[in-house]
């Protein structure tokens, strides 16, 4: 069965490669590598936009109603260069929307998932190349819908990225565009996840058993399953909110509801229903946003510790455990929402338990570094910082999981600190590491190490200055999403600390210039990388850099797991997955057992 699929895909590809004009090669390409790079470039541009939106938020929180220097007059001429409270709500809504739906999810699954899956499992492409191409091009209407919503009457969505009704049902066109955009992102993700699951199950090279898969692939596989099962709920909820807004249904509208003294047309619904449906997707989505980074970091840490990954199977089981438990913890976002408090207790227990697999993973990363031969390359520094920062993000989660403590810190900067430690200090740092690590494979050239280390050093300092101090704000009870918090007696002394955070945030965004310059210049001027510059074991490193169409110029056959560094069986300190053991039969081993 699998060999037939492989054969067909190959034929399709050969045909289309020969017919290749510019459009079919670089724009509407069905090659997973080109699609991966398209995702990478698009998401990096959105990353910049999302970062600038964050600076807008920081500006307002540090100096409420102060005139923005230089750009204030251009952007907010009507308000005398100030950010209006209404625009402030747009800023944080768009910052989260862009970062989550246009950056983190597509850069992990779309860019790295696409690029790495076929290369790492020894396939010549994805199982469904056309669906793969569509999954990228479905992002564009979403980009346009949400990007253009800033210019429609009433402005872009401003109910937060969680879009809680009834606020999100009040009459703004931007919210409708937001819902449409979100649905399209969902369609894109779903096409990707179906493709990844099929490819990983069906198209592994001979000898590549499930327990010889790199952690990157395991995490992408589990992520794809999470997406496939959780996304339909969000899509359905999105449609329900759309019909509430446009066709007078009342899924989320209570009886006799009104805003601004205008009575609603219908009722009988429940605002809490949205929160349940939304978090039923968006909690698993939290893992969708971290698991692939964990997988890639595992690869990087093993490679530069020159040691096998400590506890490969426990790592795989923890990812599976996170995915399973991830479906029964959504209620911890709703402890003070008015949900039955007895239910809160059950969610508290399951939430405490989901901390366990994360702890196991952390200990195994430490175990991998222990007794190693550490090479402090740029990707390794980012990967190590992922571990150091994930510890903080993981531990701060326990405060929120404890329901009584959550009563106080819910919707304060404590939670803002927590998820930025997971998503920026964790995932984004992991992604930087992955870019430095796989850049030579993607473009055939090395990135500059010195510039990379300077980029790492300052990002590391500024991110901790920005986000660690937010815990302290949270301990005071400082709430999120307030355009001007200082008129409260409880918070008026926090402005100096907020100014400090804003300076750090500005620094953090500014040093990304080093990264951008390094990235662009290295694409053209970096030293040639060769196939395997890091002396890594993964199959992707045995292919040419960059790999041509069809990926491999040899038939990959797998003999061992991906982390055999310093194996006594090999004379080198690495042992590629496809290198035949001494005295092996020349013919390939039997196909993998599924």
């Amino acid at each position: 069965m699998s060999s037939i699929t492989v054969g067909h895909a190959h034929d399709d590809h050969a045909a289309h490669a020969h017919a290749g004009g510019f459009l079919s090669t670089y724009v509407f390409s069905k090659d997973h590598k080109i699609i991966g790079l398209q995702f990478l470039f698009s998401t990096l541009i959105w990353f910049l936009i999302g970062g600038l939106l964050a600076l807008g938020i920081r500006w307002q929180v540090a100096w409420p109603w102060a005139e923005m220097p230089v750009i204030g007059k251009m952007l907010f001429a009507n308000e005398g260069g100030q950010i209006s409270p209404e625009f402030y709500t747009i800023l944080f809504t768009m910052h989260a929307t862009v970062m989550i739906f246009f950056v983190i999810i597509p850069i992990l699954a779309g860019a790295f998932g696409n690029y790495l899956i076929p290369l790492m499992i020894g396939a010549d492409d994805m199982a469904f190349p056309t669906i793969n191409m569509l999954s990228y091009w479905f992002m564009w209407p979403a980009f346009i819908a949400i990007g253009s919503s800033v210019f429609v009457e009433g402005g872009a969505a401003k109910s937060g990225w969680t879009s809680y009704p009834p606020l999100s049902l009040t009459d703004w066109n931007g919210q409708t565009l937001w819902l449409i955009g979100l649905t399209l992102v969902g369609v894109s993700s779903m096409m990707g996840s179906v493709n990844y699951m099929t490819t990983i199950i069906q198209m592994r090279a001979p000898g590549m058993t499930m327990f010889r898969l790199p952690m990157t692939i395991w995490s992408m596989f589990i992520t794809a399953i999470l997406q496939a099962f959780a996304l339909p709920v969000l899509t359905a909820a999105g449609f329900m909110q759309l019909t509430d807004r446009m066709f007078g249904t009342g899924f989320f509208i209570p009886e006799g509801w009104s805003v601004n003294n205008a009575a609603a047309a219908s009722g009988g619904g429940q605002p809490l229903l949205w929160q349940h449906l939304f978090w039923f997707y968006s909690h698993p989505a939290v893992y969708i946003m971290i698991l692939p980074a964990m997988g890639m970091v595992s690869n990087i840490i093993a490679c530069f510790s020159r040691k096998p990954l400590f506890g490969y199977k426990p790592m795989v089981y923890s990812i599976a455990g996170i995915a399973g438990l991830g479906f029964i913890v959504w209620g911890h976002h709703m402890f003070v929402s008015g949900m039955n408090p007895a239910l809160g207790m059950t969610f508290m227990v399951s939430t405490m338990m989901i901390a366990l697999p994360s702890a196991i993973k952390t200990f195994n990363w430490l175990g991998t570094v222990w007794g190693g031969h550490i090479q402090f390359t740029t990707p390794m520094l980012f990967a190590l910082s992922f571990v150091a920062m994930f510890i903080i993000g993981g531990l701060s989660g326990i405060f929120m999981a404890a329901t009584p403590v959550d009563i106080f810190i819910h919707d304060t900067y404590f939670i803002v600190a927590h998820f930025h430690y997971v998503l920026f200090a964790g995932t984004a740092m992991g992604v930087f590491g992955a870019i430095y690590f796989w850049f030579p494979k993607m473009f055939g050239r090395m990135m500059n190490e010195t510039a990379g280390k300077i980029h790492f050093f300052f990002t590391f300092l500024f991110l901790n200055g920005t986000f660690f101090t937010m815990h302290i704000l949270g301990v005071v009870g400082f709430p999120r999403r307030l355009a001007d918090p200082y008129h409260y007696q409880t918070f008026h002394h926090l402005q100096p600390l907020n100014e400090f955070i804003t300076y750090c945030a500005i620094g953090m965004v500014a040093v990304q210039v080093i990264f951008a310059a390094n990235f662009i210049l290295s694409m053209f001027l970096g030293p040639k990388a060769g196939r395997n510059p890091w002396h890594a074991n993964g199959l992707e490193w045995q292919a040419p850099s960059p790999p041509g169409h069809g990926n491999f110029d040899f038939q990959p056959v797998i003999y061992r797991g991906p982390y055999e560094y310093n194996s006594p069986e090999s004379s080198k300190d690495y042992y590629p997955q496809n290198e035949p053991p001494p005295g092996a039969h020349p013919e390939p081993p039997s196909p993998p057992i599924y």
Partner: protein, 270 residues
Amino acid sequence: MGKFWALLFLLVPILGVACFVFAPLYQHWLPIDVSQEGHRIDHLFYFILWLTGVVFVGTEVALFWFMLRYDGASNRKVNYTHGSHSLEIIWTIIPAATLLFIAIYQMNAWADSKIRNPAAGPDGILGTADDMPPTVEVTARQFEWRLRYPGKNGILGDQDDVHVVNDLRLPVQEEILVDLKSADVLHSFFLPNLRVKQDAVPGMKIPVWFRATEKGSFDIVCAELCGWGHYKMKGRVTFVSRGEFDEWLDEKYREQTATVDSQVAQGDVE
């Protein structure tokens, strides 16, 4: 260079701990607690802070030490291993037991804050004759807190009620029962100094209870995004003695009746 990076990583636990040591000295810490039960939340917070603090320092220092000790520039000998079954069991069971302990340890505090509704009275069952009546009804709306006290007849929800906006006065040293409602969108009734937070949901009436131990005036913060004016949805809660409270309510009642009477006299109210 390995030493440099290891030391950079050592800064994380050092500065992290320093942050939490110095913050309380500069009043960047839990706001003053004037409630009967809030100390249980604070206690749990400190308990988790110590526990996670120890794990945080332990793991970060281990990472620092491994980076220093196993720097490839100095360490030649690699410990080729695929893991350790017994270590995996140890670091699964210990965290699992700890997490389970935290989960069980806090259940009572949660139940007392959110489940054991004092309105149910001595028999513990809602809907019977000994139910405690709510002290005040709080209705959140864009962007203010509408407060309604029972008037002279002691019944909430009739013509006799006293209406106030944003200025919540309550008797100190008494169990307060609030009926929390929303007139439009979601809001959240946050009293930082009483460790109370509860979302107000349209279509629901949610009970909130607390007891203040000290007199004083504190912030009421809206903690759930409710629109462009969310930031300015500020109220004040003031705890006074029972006598002062009755006097104040009486005065409000008289003011309100006087306004209504004068409006009736001018023909504004039919």
